[in-house]
């Protein structure tokens, strides 16, 4: 999956699930503080990311991911790891 594609998809998912306008979902946006997500929202987001990108997000990773940009970075890294393992 190309880099732009991951970013695009992540933003799509966030907009849909949190019902926030696209312009608010910047790479610096924090889920709780800037996007108004509660703990169930973030749990739903994690499940959605896992489904869409076919990755698994360990519990300890959830605490490290606070912004949209960090999410994109994490997913790209996971996808790269998967690709490396497959080849």
């Amino acid at each position: 999956m190309a880099e732009e594609n991951v970013k695009e998809k992540v933003v799509d998912i966030i907009c849909k699930l949190l019902e926030v306008p696209r312009e608010k979902v910047t790479m610096e946006a924090r889920y709780a503080e800037d996007l108004g997500a509660d703990s169930l929202d973030t749990a739903e987001l994690v499940l959605e990311f896992e489904d869409v990108f076919k990755i698994s997000v360990p519990e300890d990773a959830e605490g490290r991911i606070r912004t949209v940009g960090e999410t994109v970075k994490f997913i790209e890294e996971e996808l790269a790891k998967k690709k490396a393992m497959a080849s």
Binding site: D38, L40, E44, L47
Partner: protein, 250 residues
């Protein structure tokens, strides 16, 4: 004619549907218009019930599932979504008893009863809440028992499991309320089923003495309460325990 309770177009998942209260819940929800996906360890039992229901109304299917097994529950959730496309109602009814006085109760009897009732309810809720969260709509009804509130000599495992289900009901009600999902429990008292028929005559007589309405409850009494809580008629009710016990506990 518009009926008071209408579940037309809804998909209801019912565990422990092969016999007793669970089978009656399947029949009643189906008669109110719901499609039924029912699960039980006894696969032949739920398949037979599903075939009987399908023949005379909305679609029904039976699945052989051990609700205490996470992998089986996940697979069942996938199968139901594939077969029915959505889930509107979840009734966590599956249960067993392994009664004994506490000091003679084995670890196995404790673990088995806690796993089927409490862990099973947790696993099913976790698996099936997801499509409900996505839909921003749903109703979950958990089978508790009055002994989960008042205790019962000889049922340390069962009463602890049922008490746990009540707490789980309230917690999931709070977590899901903002997403349009209601979670309630039904707490039957002394109900005439295969499970209570296994009790001694003496124990049954003693129970009836403390039931103000003077009769054992029927599976239909319990199913009616479940149907109400599963329906939109209970739209403002969540986190509650509805006792169906003939006044045994007030």
């Amino acid at each position: 004619m518009e009926t008071f309770l209408d579940l037309g177009g809804r998909v209801a998942v019912v565990t422990g549907g092969a016999r007793g209260i669970g089978a009656e819940i399947c029949r009643l929800l189906h008669s109110l218009g719901a499609c039924i996906a029912t699960m039980d360890l006894n696969r032949e039992g739920v398949e037979a019930l599903a075939a009987e229901l399908s023949a005379k109304g909305p679609k029904a299917a039976g699945y052989g599932v051990n609700v205490a097994d996470p992998a089986q529950v996940e697979a069942a959730a996938e199968a139901v979504l594939k077969d029915f496309g959505k889930v509107d109602v979840l009734v966590n009814n599956a249960g067993i008893t392994r009664d004994n006085v506490l000091i003679r109760m084995t670890d196995e009897a404790w673990d088995l009863v806690l796993n089927v009732h409490l862990k099973g309810t947790f696993l099913m809720t976790r698996a099936f809440a997801r499509p409900m969260l996505r839909a921003r709509k749903g109703a979950i009804v958990n089978m508790a028992s009055v002994v989960g509130i008042m205790g019962n000599a000889g049922q340390a495992n069962y009463s602890a499991a049922k008490g746990g289900i009540i707490a789980l009901t309230k917690t999931s009600a709070k977590e899901f309320a903002g997403r349009g999902i209601r979670v309630n429990a039904v707490a039957p008292g002394y109900i005439a089923t295969d499970m209570t028929a296994a009790m001694s005559q003496e124990a049954r007589d003693a129970m009836l003495k403390v039931v103000p309405l003077g009769r054992p409850g029927t599976v239909s009494d319990v199913a009616s309460a479940v149907a109400f809580l599963a329906s939109d008629r209970a739209g403002y009710i969540t986190g509650q325990v509805l006792q169906v016990c003939g006044g045994m506990l007030m």
